[in-house]
Every structure is written in structure tokens, then in C-alpha cells.
Point group: C2
Chain length 463, copies 2
């Protein structure tokens, strides 16, 4: 399939595509705010209409207990022997615009300044998601068909934890069947270099309460003779790490896949200025598990972090109290092949074995467990993505990982056995969840070309 | 001086005395509430009038930047060679009445039920304070004089930390000169047995903040590579105690006076049911410094207690944050001969030496430092108080201590070198700071007789 006319059509269509993105981004589809429910519906309708206009897609707006999923498919390549099918993921809902007074231009009046389009949701994820739709439209216009079978699954609840996605995927396994998921959500690591993300960490959490005396006691009368849950909590939390920074929970590292020398070399070769990083986050030192570099710690090693800790008196001045309770919230970031339920069980066991005398512990598992995900470095779709980016940028992309957690990738893997390749053209610094979110226009153009190459390469492969 | 007619006059005057106490307790002299400022003044006026009517006292209502001190003196015994002078302390302000809906009878409508007078402040400290005034009145009426020189210093800010008392005492050292302070504020340890308090613990406090990264960070992106101040705080707080419960701050115990075998025997001989105590406070075990019994820990050993601890996310659900800061509030209960400033310096030094890597500590000293106080077991005024109580109760009083802190005793000791003997007839269970505060009528009667004996014994002594 000839690509030059497809690329030429997209290049000629830049102004129109930009206008369409402005129109899409002007819809305030804030999923967390019930007052915007009609706007969330309007964004779904806009997308469904756009997909219908883009070519001979079968388009469905599929209800969930929350926002609808916009689904579209074109399976016209199925006739060709072994034609692959890709499932493209994105989301049309956006973060709230607060604090609105800090926006230079109104959040839902998309505005061009200095080669950037400013609007809420334009980088996360409306711009990156519109790209493959425009690319499909160009293929249909030029060739009447796509290089391979394509399904779009575009949800409206990503910013509120994709809360109905798992049930939706479980229910529609057959409809969604594909060879791979390509996520238009994600983001490049750096401004200057293209990158591909090959792994992200998982998540497991729990909350604990330590109880001492039945009620708050006067520390003059009772201090020194009954257990103080704050002392007990400090000791218990401190017991979770070795003094050197390693997690001290027995079995915590048992399933952790070691880095191969090649993987370590790949990470070590990345341009990373640790001093600049520490200055950026305002930290005085790199602190963590010994034996690993900062990027290795962030991307490839599991962590146990206390996210909240509290008990007793927090007001001004002093209050001489031995409090009755102390509380902590803990999350662990997981790496292959750790399992969230198993990690919660290991940490729970540790806490129960280390409860200090005179206190009792109650542990509540958290609700956001997610498995870590990693795609094989020689995965053919990853290789195709590398080639597509090299075509556009003239250099091989950096191979990076994510410290954070992307539940959708984990859901597709667990329920359908599908790997997810991130192919997004937003950049990590584009203020996704802050005022003055923007999307770089050059990324829009690069993304259009890269998606053309990616679909072409995948369409030429036959399993 | 014959005591029988004095005791007879007081016995005959019970109804009148009860009416006077009702009148006094009906004045809502809540010092913490500016809306009650006029009532606080009215209580001072009531007292000054009562003292003027009681006998040939020189009475002064002496202003402070807050509530006035009511001062009265009769120095007519000064002529006799070496006649001693006692300074009687009490306070006429009361705690707030909240929650008012839990009172069975209105808090400022003193009401008799089952041999108890119910009203806010009736036990703390209006009833116990009225007793020596009534006793003085009876001596004057029967003998025209008191057995010794008497000064009353009655303040109106005890419930708000006696905040102007130190400056007042410093300024009026000469006026207040005496051989000993007898406090009508305090309280008996038990309902059934008389007791005398020979020591109370001091207090020293500080607040600390640990800072890690300059702002809250996402635990997915940054977790495991920068210091988490909550982990650091847990480790730092845990470092303050040995695993066995001893305070681990170097030098903390250096000045602590050891208990003599006699002192330990005296405490061991007290009737104390540890299981009943633990059940009362809802604790599953006695926990504290090894080698000491529960009462020894509460009364004679110093403590370091965390009263508040907080940082990060405390709301519902999870928030994957590495917080920027963690906070803790700490107080120490001190025993002779520890010094509050020195203890704050020792704890500060420990904290600074143990700050975990990647965090910085800021320490703010607390504002309520108070030295511990202890009266010699063979102090002649203590012996006199024992004899007076034995006269009334027919048994020797229990010798007890207080785990808490009484700033007034410390101020008199530091500024004037005076010991304080507690001679109060309230009981620890009379709901001082809670709804339905009450004062037992039999304690009123016992108190009147005991003060007669105490003043008589002291008056017969000549130094």
C-alpha cells in the first residue's frame, strides 16, 4: 500500500485536523463532575460521528453504568490470510479544570500560542486519540481500506479510575478480540527524543489501624504505663524497611524478575541527569534500595510506600494525650512477576507478626490492585513501533519504562491475554492534570505520520 | 487553742456553709470564655466579700493582664516568736460546661442529690477552696484569732494554664513570703481512703517537622528513589525508645533520682488492682519501662510520649503520594531532678543525630515546660497534714504521687523556694472536666475538720 499519498493528504489536512481537535477539546467532558454528564455524552456523540464520517466503520455507542464506550470496527482486511487486528485504546473524558483562575486562556476555549494548543484534555487524551482516527480516514480516502483490521475502544471514565472498564471488557471479550492493544494514551518520556514504554509497575495497597487503650488517655496520669499506638505505629512502619532501604517484608522480592545485563545497560545508556532530577523535585539526595540506580529504582524495582500516617493531636500547641488509635495507608508498586493479592497478604502477615505489645491491628485491603505489565523487548508490535518512530524522527526511540500504573493494560492482559503497546504523542510535561494543559503541534504532525507507518508495518506482517 | 468549740461551730454551720457554696458555684466563672468575663469578675468579688466577712483579713483584689488574684492576709500571729506563715492557694475559675445537654441538672444551678452537690466547679476548686476560708471564720469567731499567720492567694486563670501567675508571683515575692504553700487544689486519689500527694511529674515538650522532597510527589513516578518523610518519621520516632520500652535518648535518665527501697515498699503496699485499672482504661496489657510496676511507672519514672503524628493523605480511599512533610508532637513527663530545658535539648540532640538520609528536621520547643516537684517525706508540714488527716479519718493517709503536672507548685518552688503541700478534699472521680461535676458532702465536712487540725498543728510548731 502506497504511503506517500496518505502522508501527503494528512499534511495538506493539518488546518482541518487542528480545527477538529479544537472542536473536540471545546466539549467540557469532565467525568468526575456530575454537572458535566451531558458534556461527557456530547463528547461520545462527537467521537461516534467523527468515526462514522472517517470511513466504513461499524460504530456503536455502548452504555456502561457510567459513561458510554465508543466502539468502532473495520474488519475488511480479514479476508487476507492472517491479517492482524489491532485494538486501539483511548479516552474522551478529561480532568477537572480547577483552579480555573490560573488558566491563561479559558480551559474549554482551545487557543493556539507558540506552537502549542492550550485546552483541558487536549494532551490527555483528545489530541493523541484523534490521531489514529485521522490516519484511518486518510487511508480510507486514498486506498479505500486500512492496512489491517482495526477496532477502536474509547472510554469516558479514565480520569475516574476506569471504574466500569473491567466489567465491560469481561462482557465483550469476543467483540474486542484482537492481536494486540495499541494505547493512544500514555505519553513520551522526554520533549526532545522519541521513546517507547515497555513496562509499567503494578499497585497493591492496604490501610491499617492500631488500637491501644479504649479511649484517649491523659498522658500525665497514664503515660508510661499503657501502650501508645503512635509509638507502636512508628515501630511497625519502621519494621517494613531495612535501615538500608530494602523492603523487609519476608518474601516481598521472591517473584521479582532480575534485570538482565542487557536491560541494565539499556537503562544506563539513557540520558539522565540525576542532579537535575533531584533539583526538580526538591530532594537533597537520591534515597532507595541499595545496588540500583535511580531510574532502575523507579522503573524496575518494587516499593513499599506509606502514603498517609496519622493519630493523636494535630492542632496548634500541645495536648497531653495518649491517643487510642493510629492509622496508616500503604501502597506497593509492583514489578513483574509480583501479584497484588500475594503482596497484600505478605505485608499483612508482616504487620500481624510485628504488632507491638498492648496494641491490636486491623488491616483493610485497598481497592486499586493492579498487576505490573511488561512487554517482551522482541515483541513484533513493539519492534514495529520502534521502526515507525525511527521513520519519523530519524533516530531509534529510547526504550523506557513507567514507574506508575496503567490499569487498562493490566485489564486487557488479565482478561484477554493481550499485550499493550503505548503509542501516544503527548509529552510528560504537558500539564495533564494542572492548569494550562497543552499539546505540541509538532507532536500532532509527528504522530499522524508515525501512526501511518505503524499501521502499514503491522499490515504487511502475516503471522 | 481549744479546737472543740471551733469544730462544734463548723458542725452547726453546715447548712449555712452549703448555702454559701451553692451561691459561689452558681456564678459561671468560665475563664476560657470571654463572654463570661463579667462572671469571672463577679466570682472574684464574691470571694473578696466572703474573706472580708470571715474576719479581720486585709483583702485585696489585685489585677493581672487577665483575671484578678484575690489576696487576703492575717498576720496577727507574727508577734509570737517564730510563728509560721502559710500561703493558701486555690482558684475560683471553672471549666466550660459543655456539653451542657449531658447535665442532669443545670451546671450553674447547684443541686443536691444523694449526698453530692452537682455544679460546674464545685469540686474543682470552689468547694475545696471555700473550706479553709470557713475554717478561718470559725477560728476568728471562737478565738478572735488564727493559730498562725495566713495568706490566701486565689487565682482566676487555673483552667487556662495559670498564664499570668508566674509574672504575678515574681512581682509580689515579698507580699507572698511564707513558710510553705498549702494547695486547696489537687484531689484525693481514692474515694474510700484519705491520701496525701508528695510528688508530681514535670513536663517538657517539642514539635518536629521532617521535610523530604519540596512538594508532594506521585508515588508511581518517584516512589523508591527519594526519601519518604513518613518512613523517616517512623524510623526517627521508633529510635526514641528501646524495644523494651526504655527511652533511648542519651542522658535522659542521668538526673533521675532512684527510688529508695522504702519508697518502693510504700508504693508496693498501696491497694492497687492492676487488672481493674487496665479494664477501666480498656488496655489489653500494662506496657512501659521494664523493672517497674505500673504505679511506679506513672508516678516516679520519666516518659517520652508522642501525642500527635501526621503526614500525607488521611481521607477515604488511597492516594498514591510521597508527601513532602511529616509532623510529630512530643511531650516528656519529668521526675526529680530532671530539668525541662535540658530534656528538650537532649531530645532535640537525639532527633538531629538520627535524622534519616534525604530529610531535614525542624524542631520547635513547646511552651508548657514545668519542673517536677517532690516534697521530702519528713517535711514537717507534710507530717502535720498526715496527723490532721489521721485525726479525722482514724487511719493514716496513703502516701501517693501524681503522674500529671501542677505548674503552680513548680512556680512557687522556682521563684520563692517554697514547697507545696496538697490538702484538697475533692476526689479524682468527681468529673472535674466533664458533665455532672459533683462534690461529696462528706468530703466537705471532713475537710472542715481536717483544716482545723492542720492549722492548729502548724500553729503549735515553732521553728
Amino acid at each position: 500500500m502506497e504511503l506517500a499519498p496518505v502522508l501527503a493528504r494528512l499534511a495538506a489536512g493539518h488546518d482541518r485536523i487542528l480545527e477538529e481537535l479544537k472542536e473536540f477539546a471545546a466539549i467540557p467532558s469532565v467525568s468526575t463532575n456530575p454537572a458535566h454528564a451531558a458534556d461527557v455524552r456530547a463528547a461520545a456523540q462527537w467521537l461516534a460521528a467523527k468515526l462514522s464520517a472517517a470511513g466504513p466503520f461499524t460504530v456503536r455507542t455502548m452504555p456502561t453504568p457510567g459513561a458510554s464506550v465508543v466502539y468502532a470496527e473495520w474488519l475488511g482486511a480479514a479476508g487476507a490470510a492472517g491479517a492482524p487486528t489491532v485494538l486501539i485504546y483511548g479516552h474522551y473524558d478529561v480532568q477537572p479544570e480547577d483552579p480555573v483562575e490560573q488558566w491563561v486562556s479559558p480551559p474549554f476555549t482551545p487557543t493556539l500560542r507558540d506552537g502549542r494548543l492550550y485546552a483541558r484534555g487536549v494532551s490527555d487524551d483528545k489530541g493523541p486519540m484523534l490521531i489514529p482516527i485521522e490516519v484511518a480516514e486518510a487511508f480510507f480516502a486514498v486506498h479505500g481500506r486500512l492496512p489491517l483490521n482495526v477496532k477502536f475502544m474509547l472510554e469516558g471514565e479514565e480520569e475516574i479510575g476506569s471504574r466500569h472498564l473491567e466489567a465491560f471488557v469481561a462482557r465483550h471479550r469476543e467483540l474486542l478480540a484482537a492481536d494486540v492493544v495499541i494505547s493512544a494514551d500514555g505519553g513520551m518520556w522526554r520533549i526532545d527524543e522519541p521513546s517507547l514504554t515497555v513496562a509499567n509497575r503494578g499497585l497493591a495497597g492496604l490501610e491499617l489501624t492500631l488500637r491501644g487503650p479504649a479511649k484517649d488517655l491523659h498522658s500525665g496520669r497514664h503515660g508510661g504505663s499503657v501502650a501508645n499506638p503512635l509509638h507502636a505505629m512508628a515501630r511497625l512502619i519502621a519494621s517494613l524497611h531495612q535501615p538500608d532501604g530494602r523492603v523487609a517484608v519476608a518474601g516481598f522480592y521472591d517473584r521479582v524478575r532480575s534485570l538482565s545485563p542487557a536491560e541494565r545497560a539499556e537503562i544506563a545508556a539513557l540520558p539522565f541527569d540525576e542532579a537535575a532530577y533531584l533539583a526538580q523535585v526538591g530532594a537533597t539526595a537520591a534515597v532507595g534500595e541499595p545496588g540500583y540506580a535511580t531510574l532502575e529504582r523507579q522503573w524496575t524495582r518494587p516499593t513499599l510506600e506509606v502514603n498517609g500516617l496519622w493519630g493523636g493531636y494535630q492542632g496548634p500547641g500541645m495536648k497531653t494525650v495518649v491517643p487510642s488509635e493510629a492509622h496508616a495507608k500503604i501502597t506497593c508498586r509492583l514489578v513483574p512477576d509480583q501479584d497484588p493479592d500475594e503482596v497484600v497478604a505478605l505485608v499483612t502477615g508482616h504487620l500481624e507478626r510485628h504488632v507491638p505489645p498492648g496494641t491490636t491491628v486491623t488491616i483493610l485491603p485497598g481497592d486499586h490492585g493492579a498487576r505490573p505489565a511488561q512487554i517482551a523487548r522482541d515483541h513484533r508490535v513493539l519492534k514495529a513501533a520502534e521502526t515507525a518512530l525511527a521513520e519519523v524522527y530519524g533516530v531509534r526511540p529510547l526504550i523506557v519504562r513507567m514507574g506508575g500504573t496503567v490499569p487498562v493494560a493490566e485489564i486487557f492482559h488479565r482478561l484477554m491475554g493481550l499485550d499493550t503497546v503505548y503509542f501516544s504523542f503527548s509529552t510528560g510535561d504537558e500539564d495533564f492534570h494542572a492548569p494550562n494543559e497543552f499539546f505540541r503541534l509538532h507532536r500532532l504532525h509527528e504522530g499522524l505520520a508515525a501512526w501511518v507507518h505503524l499501521l502499514d508495518i503491522l499490515g504487511r506482517e502475516r503471522s
